[in-house]
Amino acid sequence: MSCKRMEERILAYVDGRVKVSERREMEVHLAGCPACRLRVNEFRAVTGLLDELPQIEPSAAFDARVHARVAAEPTKQSWWAWFTPSPRVAFAASLLLLATVWIGMHSNSNQPAVTQEDIPVLENYDVLSNFEPLTELPQPLQADETGQQNQQM
């Protein structure tokens, strides 16, 4: 293995992330190459130094802030949401419908009241016209004529 090929694998070697066969091949090279050996050792030293950097703790309010930001999210609207009525619009529409029906019923209730009064008279028409004593009376036209004659006199 050449030094150039070693470069790509050297960190994996330091980490112990190379296959056993590859590892043996690298060790053969390292045994005869002081430059690569030095690099391996110095890379090991660097990873050791990186371990010394302290970790920080998230602040106590971290979770609460995330939850607050999540809660502030608007609920996602998709294109078909346009067809889904909102409760407010649905309520207003139902009220409008109820009002229309109510007004319709109220405005119609006056007319049937008048015609219904006439119905008994119409129903009794046959009875009245065939009532015998009434036929004996002078004809209405004649009565009118006498009335007119009386007025003329």
């Binding site: 470069e7 790509e8 694998r9 050297i10 960190l11 994996a12 992330r17 002081p34 050996r37 030095l38 690099r39 391996v40 050792n41 110095e42 890379f43 090991r44 030293a45 660097v46 990873t47 050791g48 130094l49 990186l50 010394e52 950097l53 302290p54 970790q55 920080i56 703790e57 998230p58 602040s59 971290f62 979770d63 802030r65 995330v66 939850h67 930001r69 999540v70 999210e73 996602k76």
Partner: protein, 209 residues
Amino acid sequence: MARSDVQLMLDVKAGDEQSFALLLQRYRRPLVNFLYRMVREREEAEDLAQEVFLRVYRARKDYVPSAKFTTWLFRIATNLALNSVRDHRYQRMEVSIDAPVTADAEEADERTLDVAEKHPNIEQHLIEEARRKMIRHAVEKLPEKQRAAVLLHKYQELDYGEIAKILQCSESALKSLLFRAYETLRVELAPLVAQEPKFSGGEEKGRQS
């Protein structure tokens, strides 16, 4: 047995808020630390970590477990971090015309940690502080993509394939990215590397603890 990340995320998708809280608990610390090393400011790091969780929550309905959960999570985090670093660099360029940056803003964060550790003597404390400062500066000076690769490799212990997906590059490109980063680090940290007797040449097998 603890539910896997993917299972938790599928439960979140199904409307289980409790599973979201569990994911938050599991990943807030790694995310905040990763972002802190990327953007160098604690407040900014926390804000971005919250943004990552918010984006995870927003995407729950469309979640498909096609990749590892950590790949997805750190990809969101890395993109946010890289954007933030680039925005800040632009802002700093504007500021530096009038006022050169002298103060080390984020040192206070680590100093509070030091106090909690109660060092036996002040001299030892100062040596360790200087040492840590040097390591931190070396990491922070890395170009941001190399820095992200080192952090994901070293602290999150993700495998090469996963990191390559997060950084949207090939696995061999990632390996050379990491190689260049470690080459830079070993030069930058040469005084400290030389202090490690075990590593200053010759044969060495185990790792120093």
